[in-house]
């Protein structure tokens, strides 16, 4: 799939102010690869309960470039998922701005697709119909839906399960469906919230490699939250390391080498050491 | 076999045995004769009527004439009036009438009329299409108010019902087609039933009750003959209190209806001044036979062990207590006794009971009456049957139907 993919002829959507639901990445076709696509400025999230006020996220700002995969790692409970949910619009930050291009993001939309740790697949739909869900929402006609979902089923190795029910699948397969469902929409940004967190180590590795394969075929902008530093090193172009709560950005690392990477190579090992040491220092459990 | 399986089987057997034992103990043997019932007196005869729906007034259901009708006509001759009631069955066919209940005398009478006219007698159910060879009924309509309600849901042509509801209907501007006094001259209506066990144990108390009761009936009849008497005023007052009438009636309307109803009912307690119940026996025998033919009773007199319906009626109707009450000299009880009486609430047929209670006649005789008011005859019978009531005031049909179906008629106690 290349940047020259054509916009579907004809405007199919009724209201003018509605964001075109699928292929929202084309809205930002004018922004070149490697230039900032997503800007997060002064993100603050404060929780107020009856007893006290907790600052979860303290003034975080960063940028995400088009076509890159950025990981967010940090100590447990630091607020990585909170940041991601703010970007997705499912959570309203206390203050701060989130912008894609020149558009301010406040509510959820198909321009920020999401992959969930517990898959969030629809049990009353088959695998194929789950993947086609977003396209249905967007009003994409049946034949086109079918054709596109066939491609993704093939790419994710799900073809023989196309008409199966979700509960018949293993954890790894379910997340493949989850990823396909998000990716088929070609959102401007894909948010992944510890997508492999519920899987065993072997499946995890396999899925990481699948993701890398997909990324090498088509360019996507991804923000990836994980607690596994190894995973972040294997997948990311850059890694944002957060402090413990209230979360601030400790440091942003650039990961050397092109994907697919050798997990054991020395540059990665050095980086791993540095990040792990920092996280250890932030880990208050053993104080 | 597995030990577990054996254990389970043993437990089950013990459980069955325990249940059976408990049941037997609870029932403490079938002293069947004690649960049998008898008819021991009359309460009233006549006192019902057929009300017509307002759109039916012009229809010619019955023609009353002095001369005998032609050959093949369906008619009833009233010897007391000397009149012929001729039924135009073509106008009755396909029509729907309401009755107060399947076990009531009114229902039986309507069935008799249908039979006489050669019409089938079938219940009207939702979605039934009517045919002209059938007279349809809706049973279980116990009041005029209820009749008016049911008129909203079905095209009822008329309503056969007891007083005082007939008079209530007249106050509402409805017309009466005929009274049962006209059609079934002198017909049995309500009777007094009693449990044999009670009669065996408390014969004397019961005779005192019957004595007081018969005096009350005499007083009522005397009062109705002299409307200026104190008893008349008392009677009307008690009737107004005890008989339920709809809200829309004014006080004067209620008074008119009550008086009209009182005069339509014939209050009696026996067939002779000495307490004979022989006519009642004959009536019961006829009733039993026709109800068996109508399938409302599923055991014939022979099934119950009697040689004929007459023999059964002789066993069922026990006139000894009435005779003793009327011919013996009246004595009040030496010590206070209580009788549990089941009666139909709001029923003007049974007004003598209320009259005797409300004027203190029972009290004077040292009798305390525990009344259990019920909605209908079968309910009164139920209390008699399970022993909660010693005696009951109910219609002859429910008494007969339920007693025969429950095999509660026995050879009388010696």
């Amino acid at each position: 799939m290349s940047k020259e993919e054509q916009v579907i002829e004809g405007e199919k959507y009724d209201s003018d102010d509605r964001v075109r639901a699928d292929h929202t990445d084309l809205l930002y076709a004018d922004i070149p690869e490697g230039e900032p696509l997503l800007k997060i400025e002064n993100l603050n999230v404060t929780y107020r309960t009856d007893e006290k006020v907790t600052v979860a996220v303290n003034n975080i700002s960063f940028e995400v470039n088009k076509g890159e995969l950025v990981s967010i790692v940090g100590p447990s409970g630091c607020g990585k998922s909170t940041v991601l949910r703010c970007i997705s619009g499912l959570l309203q930050p206390t203050s701060g701005t989130i912008m894609i291009g020149d558009k301010v993001c406040t509510v959820p939309g198909s321009d920020r697709g999401m992959v969930f740790q517990d898959f969030a697949l629809f049990p009353w739909r088959t695998v194929r119909k789950n993947i086609e869900f977003g396209l249905e929402i967007a009003g994409v006609p049946k034949e086109e839906r079918r054709e596109r979902s066939e491609r993704y089923l093939k790419a994710m190795g799900l073809l023989e399960f196309a008409d199966s029910r979700i509960h018949e699948l293993s954890g790894g397969m379910k997340q493949r469906v989850g990823i396909a469902r998000a990716m088929i929409m070609h959102p401007a940004v894909i948010l992944m919230d510890e997508p492999f967190g519920a899987l065993d180590a072997q499946t995890r590795n396999i899925l990481q490699e699948s993701l890398v394969k997909v990324l090498n075929k088509s360019s996507r902008t991804i923000i990836f939250v994980t607690h596994s530093v190894d995973e972040a090193l294997f997948l990311s172009d850059r890694i944002i390391v957060l402090s413990k709560r209230p979360a601030t950005i400790h440091k942003i690392f650039t990961v050397p080498g092109d994907r697919p990477r050798d997990r054991a190579c020395p540059e990665l090992t050095a980086l791993r050491g540095e990040i792990l040491a920092y996280l250890q220092s932030q880990n208050t459990m053993f104080d | 076999m597995d030990k577990k399986v054996i254990a389970i089987i043993i437990v089950v057997i013990i459980a069955i045995a325990a249940v059976a034992a408990a049941v037997v103990l609870m029932n403490n043997g079938g002293q069947k004769d004690d649960n049998n019932l008898s008819i021991v007196g009359r309460v009233n005869s006549e006192g019902s009527g057929i009300i017509l729906a307002q759109d039916q007034i012009a229809t010619n259901y019955i023609t009353v004439q002095d001369t005998a009708p032609g050959f093949g006509a369906k008619y009833i001759y009233n010897s007391e009036e000397g009149k012929y009631y001729v039924f135009h069955s073509e106008n009755w066919g396909g029509k729907i009438f309401a009755t107060p209940g399947m076990a009531t005398i009114q229902h039986v009478q309507l069935m008799t009329l249908a039979d006489m006219m050669g019409l089938k007698f079938v219940s009207y159910t939702e979605g039934t299409s009517t045919s002209s060879d059938t007279l349809y009924y809706i049973a279980g309509v116990p009041s005029f108010a209820e009749f008016q309600n049911k008129q909203k849901s079905a095209p009822l042509a008329g309503f056969i019902i007891w007083e005082a509801q007939v008079s209530v209907g007249m106050q509402a501007g409805y017309e009466t087609l005929a009274l049962t006094n006209n059609l079934f001259d002198g017909h049995t209506c309500c009777i007094i039933g009693a449990s044999n066990k009670y009669l065996k144990n408390e014969a004397n108390t019961f005779e005192v009750f019957l004595s007081v009761y018969s005096q009350a009936v005499d007083k009522i009849n005397a009062a109705l003959k002299s409307p200026s008497s104190a008893d008349y005023a008392k009677l009307v007052e008690i009737a107004k209190n005890r008989v339920s009438m709809p809200d829309w009636m004014t006080d004067s309307q209620k008074e008119v209806a009550i008086i009209s109803a009182l005069y339509n009912v014939t209050y009696i307690y026996a067939d002779s001044s000495t307490g004979s119940l022989s006519d009642l026996e004959d009536d019961i025998a006829d009733l039993a036979e026709s109800l068996y033919d109508a399938k409302q009773i599923d055991k014939s007199a022979k099934d119950l062990g009697f040689s004929s319906y007459e023999a059964m009626a002789k066993a069922f109707v026990d006139e000894r207590y009435m005779k003793a009450a009327l011919t013996g000299s009246f004595q009040s009880l030496t010590s206070k006794k209580t009788i549990n009486v089941a009666a139909i609430s709001g029923d003007i047929h049974q007004i003598a009971l209320w009259f005797a209670m409300d004027t203190g006649m029972f009290e004077k005789a040292n009798l305390t009456i525990n009344v259990y008011p019920q909605g209908n005859g079968p309910a009164v019978w139920g209390l008699l049957s399970n022993g909660e009531a010693d005696i009951g005031f109910l219609g002859a049909p429910p008494m007969t139907i339920k007693s025969m179906n429950a095999e509660a008629i026995g050879v009388p106690n010696a």
Binding site: F116, A120, W124, R125 | V23, K120, V141, A154, A294, K295
Partner: protein, 267 residues
């Protein structure tokens, strides 16, 4: 015949089930017989009398009322279906709405809590009086089915996995699409469960409704037979009502299974 029972053999399983069922029913019959024979109570006929009455009823109908038993069953079934249909029509949209919109749910909660506990039997005379013979009895059945159905649906909507809603939003779903494509299908198992519960209650209401309506039906036949003291017929009527109840529940179970399987929610 007494070969070893193999749990994995389908035939063995079926035979075992059949044997257990037959033994159980036979024991039930024996118990019934023993208890009624010992009771010697005129109100509790022994099974043989009841089955004769049932047989005659099915073959020759009701000689007193002059109708076949199928007429009565038709009346009761019609009432039941009317009531059931009404309950479905009202409970479905109302349940979805109340489950979805918190403020409406909170507002109507007191109404529901006050009306729901009132037994349908209590409403029977009032409904039959006010709404006549066409609608009154159906409304008694309606009220019996409506509340369990409503509460099940409201509960179901509230138990929808938030992740599904979140996922749908990130796929661009509007509020309307959230409702039709997520809330509705997710609630289906709860709807089906509510229907199953409601059906049982519905048959309980039939007798109550027909006591007051008196326009026929198997419930009215039951009461008439009790009033007349023909207890074997009354018990036969009870058996018929039980069978009708079983049939409707059976149909509901089947529909429920089929829909659940088609929607993949039977795991």
């Amino acid at each position: 015949m007494f070969m070893k029972y193999d749990e994995n053999n389908r035939q063995h399983r079926m035979i075992r089930s059949a044997i257990i069922t037959i033994l159980s029913l036979a024991t039930f019959l024996v118990l019934w017989w023993v208890v009624t024979a010992l009771m010697n109570d005129r109100n509790f006929p022994t099974p043989d009398k009841v089955f004769v009455a049932l047989w005659n009823l099915l073959l020759y109908g009701d000689p007193i009322g002059g109708h076949s038993v199928w007429d009565y069953i038709a009346v009761s079934l019609t009432t039941f279906i009317k009531g059931f249909g009404l309950a479905l029509i009202f409970a479905l949209p109302l349940g979805l709405l109340l489950g979805y919109v918190k403020i409406l749910r909170e507002f109507t909660a007191p109404w529901i809590e006050i009306v729901r506990p009132i037994a349908p039997i209590a409403w029977a005379p009032i409904f039959v009086l006010s709404f006549g013979s066409q609608l009154g009895p159906a409304l008694v059945v309606f009220i019996g089915i409506f509340f369990p159905l409503l509460t099940n649906i409201i509960f179901g909507v509230q138990r929808i996995d938030k992740n599904w809603l979140d996922a749908s939003k990130t796929l661009g779903a509007t509020q309307g699409q959230l409702f039709t494509k997520v809330v509705l299908p997710a609630t289906v198992p709860y709807i089906l469960n509510g229907i199953k519960v409601g059906l049982g209650v519905g048959w309980m209401c039939i007798v109550a409704a027909e006591i007051y309506n008196k326009f026929g039906g198997i419930g009215q036949y039951l009461v008439d037979m009790v009033n007349g003291g023909l207890m074997s017929n009354a018990f036969a009527a009870i058996i018929i009502i039980a069978v009708l109840g079983l049939m409707t529940t059976g149909v509901a179970e089947y529909v429920s299974k089929v829909v659940s399987r088609r929607m993949g929610m039977d795991a």
